[in-house]
């Protein structure tokens, strides 16, 4: 941890000529800027000098703008093979892709501070396995911790069933790790009580895209730049995927691109767009569907839709029902519950439905969404109005601000809008996610959905809601890997309370030094209805690790092991190891393998990360990250998969990867590329062609245009809507802080900027409540709704919010979070906004723990709360930390 006082340095060691140069990519956002690590020993006191032949960059200091400047935050001292080494980590100035020329955000820019250095705030990295004995987490040897974990794991599975073993894990922290974790949890344990860091159930985050046939990451970064009109929903890429904005979208705007932002806050990217010919649709939380369909309505009323595209690329009734026994009956949305609610007979049927919905009429949509009607008209024109015979090249980008509320409705609506403006399958005319985390997931097993007790009426089971399952007391062992769980899920304070009851308040606590005694105690705990917690982490996280974990495994992370991962345009890179992990920390794949062996699972004899990657490669075949041919090429050349991928440096190679006749590898620029001509002989050798390369991901390869009824969600929205003194309470990222701040809380530079959680509030709303910038405020609610139990749906609407209320399955609880007020002009009136994952002040405590009843994802972005001043923070009148200036200064 670090204090909010940062003393800036006035010099930095330069890497000398001859320093080792290791390529890697950033560990943070989806963009994954290519980085270079310059490493040289501390021993000998060698430093680079300012002359070009004296430093590793070959450049004379002081350097010009955009040159290889090294800020003090880009230097650190690490242990490499046990010896202290200087490292300088800066963006790769020779990068040819992504962050061309070597730009980066401040997150990747300061990543050198992430490295373990016992003389810096990273000193509290977990270094030894720990077990809670007599209430205290005490270091124990690996064997000891693994044996106890394996024994209790086996016991839970054998006596309480596989579903009693819950696994909650990150989805992205490198292919080798996620493959091992999913092989363990899904293939061997085969539990339905499994999910990822950002959702309570293992379901698609963008169901509308999935149903339409869109891959989440089809577009190339070039496409975002080259679109003539770009609609961005639910994110400001400047804030959270900075280089995607500054190197790509910004250049597009400078070239005349019309950028439209559908977000409730005007941050730097939005302000830049507005000042340069763009548009801000300042949408009220949860109302995006109305706004999107209002735009669509204007387009079809005027006949501006892309008729040729629709004719060629949209399924009619028979096509969307097709599938030789597959098709709509087997798709997730066509249960009896939702029969007829989404599927259409094609464009004309969809258009008829759209025009029949009064709520999509301009006046109504403008009123409820809070967006000026003229702006809505302008957006429709820019997206679709032809100029003579020429149509605008329009692209659509979405992120969590859009789909983490009304998950199904919003993603169905935006898919349909994308389809009618011709987005999705041509250069500069694409649709996709901008991305959050990088793409580091590789499945080593299949999710056993038929083992889930959750079912909507009809034939399909829905993935188990792990939060409600835990709250209801069915989880006996919670294996938590690299996620806070509690603060990242909605209803955080309810979850924490339940963890306490099941783990700590259970009479069976470990009060013995004897291994068998310990195991027996944990067995008694689970038999009495309690829960055991196993936590794999890099830092001790409060409360999941610090308070609840019975066993803690120290994990090795970025830079401490060589790994593979892809970025938001499917660019696979090798992330090279360049320093030693702290103490006895081990990579997650190793921890899983050791646990698996002790639980009697076969197939975990890997010697190194490359072994895992090589085993995983064939499971990637046909997917957007297909890297199997890299392994094939490697084997032909007598290399390992890691070695071969490493040859591509920071350029990497875009998946799916193919091998040409001459044995060289080439990547795939974009998916759904209807302009791409594939080899007419078909895939050669071990190459696999997936339909997605040139078509869409449906039975026919054409898009499904779906309905998006407001009524499936409006009951929850109406109930949550602020009443009286309440305001919408939303949350999200801010540029300078990444996720839970696990690294940023240990960077004095960032802690100084954001010491506590902030609460953005509009000037007018603040004035009415007597709140000024710098005041300490309490954000609270008496009515945070939460689901009590996993239920079986009988009638069609049993799972809807109204249905759950009627069935008595919704509990209302209180929650409260403190923060520092930021009174600002850049946020919409009627709402407040906090950092979504400040672990000690979790904004998610105020978000209703009510999942989208069709998809199972949370409505993270629409909580409701009251706010009151409770005092003054130390940042109000001192000048050392924080700033209350607005984020839209251009």
């Amino acid at each position: 941890m670090t204090t909010p006082y940062y003393i800036p340095e006035t010099n930095v060691p330069l890497p000398p000529k001859g320093a080792e140069i290791i390529t890697t990519a950033c560990d943070y956002c989806i963009v994954a800027c290519g980085l270079k690590v310059f490493r040289w020993p501390v021993a000998g006191s060698v430093r680079g000098g300012p002359k070009a032949n004296e430093n590793a960059f070959g450049v004379k200091f002081p350097v010009d703008p955009l040159g290889p400047w090294v800020a003090p935050n880009q230097h650190n001292i690490v242990l490499h093979k046990g010896q202290p080494h200087h490292v300088v980590v800066i963006p790769d100035k020779d990068a040819e892709f992504v962050n061309k020329g070597g730009d980066s955000s401040l997150r990747g820019g300061c990543i050198a501070q992430k490295c373990y250095n016992p003389q810096s705030p990273t000193r509290d990295r977990l270094k030894r396995p720990m077990m809670r004995i007599y209430g205290i987490l005490q270091p124990v040897p690996w064997d000891f911790a693994l044996e106890v974990a394996a024994e209790i794991g086996k016991y839970v599975i054998d006596n309480h069933g596989a579903n009693a073993y819950g696994v909650k894990t990150y989805s992205y922290q490198f292919i080798e790790n996620t493959y091992a974790i999913t092989k363990y949890a899904l293939r061997h344990i085969n539990t339905a009580n499994f999910t990822f860091h950002d959702t309570p159930s293992d379901v698609s985050s963008t169901p509308g895209f999935r149903d339409a046939g869109f891959d989440n990451f089809g577009p190339a970064y070039d496409d975002w730049m080259n679109a003539e009109t770009l609609l961005i929903c639910g994110t400001d890429p400047y804030e959270t995927k900075t280089i995607l904005f500054t190197q790509w979208i910004m250049r597009g705007i400078q070239n005349g691109q019309k950028a439209i932002f559908m977000v409730p806050r005007r941050t730097a990217g939005v302000a830049y767009a507005e000042a340069n010919g763009g548009l801000w649709l300042d949408v009220n939380p949860g109302t995006d569907l109305l706004l999107i369909n209002a735009i669509a309505r204007i387009i079809v009323e005027n006949g501006w839709q892309d008729k040729d595209w629709i004719k060629n690329w949209v399924n009619n009734k028979w096509e969307s029902s097709s599938g030789f026994g597959q098709g709509t009956r087997n798709t997730p949305w066509q249960w009896r519950t939702t029969w007829g609610k989404f599927q259409t007979k094609g464009f004309e049927d969809w258009k008829k439905w759209l025009l029949a919905q009064d709520e999509f009429k301009l006046a109504h949509a403008a009123k409820v969404s809070g967006v000026d009607a003229q702006k809505i008209r302008t957006a429709a024109e820019w997206m679709a109005k032809p100029n003579g015979l020429k149509r605008p090249k329009t692209s659509v980008m979405i992120e969590k601000g859009l789909y983490w509320s009304n998950n199904v409705g919003n993603t169905q609506a935006i898919s349909a809008l994308g389809i009618i403006v011709g987005a999705g399958g041509r250069p500069g005319q694409v649709i996709g996610r901008a991305g959050g985390h990088q793409r580091g997931g590789q499945r080593g097993g299949k999710y056993p959905r038929n083992k889930s007790p959750m079912k909507v009426p009809g034939r399909r089971r829905r993935a188990l809601d792990t939060d409600t399952y835990m709250i209801a007391g069915h989880t006996r062992l919670a294996h938590v890997i690299g996620t806070t769980w509690i603060q990242s899920m909605a209803g955080s304070q309810q979850l924490a309370k339940r963890f306490h009851e099941l783990v700590l308040a259970n009479p069976h606590q470990v009060r013995s030094y004897d291994k068998q005694d310990i195991i027996d105690t944990l067995k008694k705990r689970v038999d009495l209805g309690g829960m055991v917690v196993v936590n794999q982490e890099i830092y001790l996280v409060d409360p999941i690790g610090a308070r609840f974990a019975d066993i803690v495994f120290p994990a090795a992370t970025w830079g401490e092991e060589t790994f593979m991962r892809a970025n938001g345009e499917r660019r696979l890179r090798l992330y090279n190891k360049f320093y030693d992990p702290p103490g006895e920390a081990k990579p997650d794949w190793w921890i899983i393998a050791e646990l698996s062996k002790r639980m009697g699972f076969d197939g975990f004899d890997w010697k190194n990360a490359n072994d895992v990657a090589e085993e995983a490669s064939r499971f990637s075949r046909g997917s957007r990250k297909d890297f199997h041919m890299i392994k094939v090429a490697a084997k032909r050349e007598g290399k390992t998969l890691h070695q071969k991928l490493g040859e591509f440096g920071t350029n990497g190679i875009q998946g799916p990867v193919f091998m040409k006749e001459d044995g060289t590898l080439h990547g795939t620029k974009r998916l759904h590329d209807t302009t791409l001509e594939l080899d007419e002989l078909g895939p050669q050798g071990a190459n696999v062609f997936n339909k997605k390369l040139t078509h869409f991901n449906s039975q026919t390869g054409k898009c499904n245009i779906q309905k998006s009824p407001w009524s499936l969600f409006s009951d929850y929205w109406e109930w949550m809507k602020p009443k009286g003194d309440e305001l919408w309470c939303s949350s999200g990222r801010t540029n300078e802080r990444w996720q839970s701040g696990f690294d940023d809380r240990r960077r004095p530079y960032i802690v100084q900027r954001w010491p506590d959680n902030y609460v953005e509030i509009h000037t007018d709303d603040a004035k009415a409540r007597g709140i000024e910038s710098g005041d300490t405020v309490m954000v609270y609610s008496d009515r945070v709704p939460s689901l009590k139990e996993t239920t079986l749906g009988i009638e069609g609407s049993d799972y809807s919010f109204t249905g759950q209320m009627k069935a008595g399955n919704v509990e209302l609880t209180r929650a409260a979070v403190t923060g520092v007020a930021m009174v600002t002009r850049h946020i919409k009136k009627g709402m407040i906004y906090m950092d979504f994952l400040h672990t000690s002040q979790p904004a998610n405590a105020l978000e209703g723990r009510i999942v989208d009843w069709i998809s199972g994802n949370y409505n993270y972005k629409m909580g409701t709360a009251k706010i009151k001043k409770i005092g003054v923070s130390p940042y109000k009148y001192s000048f050392r930390s924080m700033s209350f200036a607005p984020r839209d200064i251009i």
Partner: protein, 101 residues
């Protein structure tokens, strides 16, 4: 650059402690922020390269943006009516050492 903020600022000199001075090269990639001071928000920027902004009342802290450190503040001292620049907090863009280059 040197500016009279009109409100008290960290490191400010003068009877109102509102005269501050900063280096104007952005501590991200060295963009030139000459002439970008804004009186309403007491800020420097947005940098023309990548839009970073700095709060000049709070020792040049980043408001929003990509800088790898706060904007280097020039420590000022007042002697009668003479203003002296006596030190710099933070490494100036482009340099590896403020004095050595």
């Amino acid at each position: 650059m040197i500016v009279k903020l009109g409100v008290e600022g960290g490191g400010g000199i003068g009877p109102n402690r509102d005269v501050v001075a900063f280096n104007y090269f952005c501590t991200h990639q060295g963009g030139d922020m000459t002439g970008s001071y804004k009186g309403d928000t007491k800020s420097l920027g947005a940098c023309p390269l990548h839009l970073s902004t700095y709060d000049l009342t709070r020792h040049g802290i980043l408001i929003s943006g990509q800088a790898y450190q706060s904007l280097p503040q020039v420590l000022l001292e007042l002697n009668g009516n003479d203003v002296f620049a006596v030190a710099v907090f933070g490494l100036i863009y482009g340099r590896f050492d403020n004095l050595q280059g």
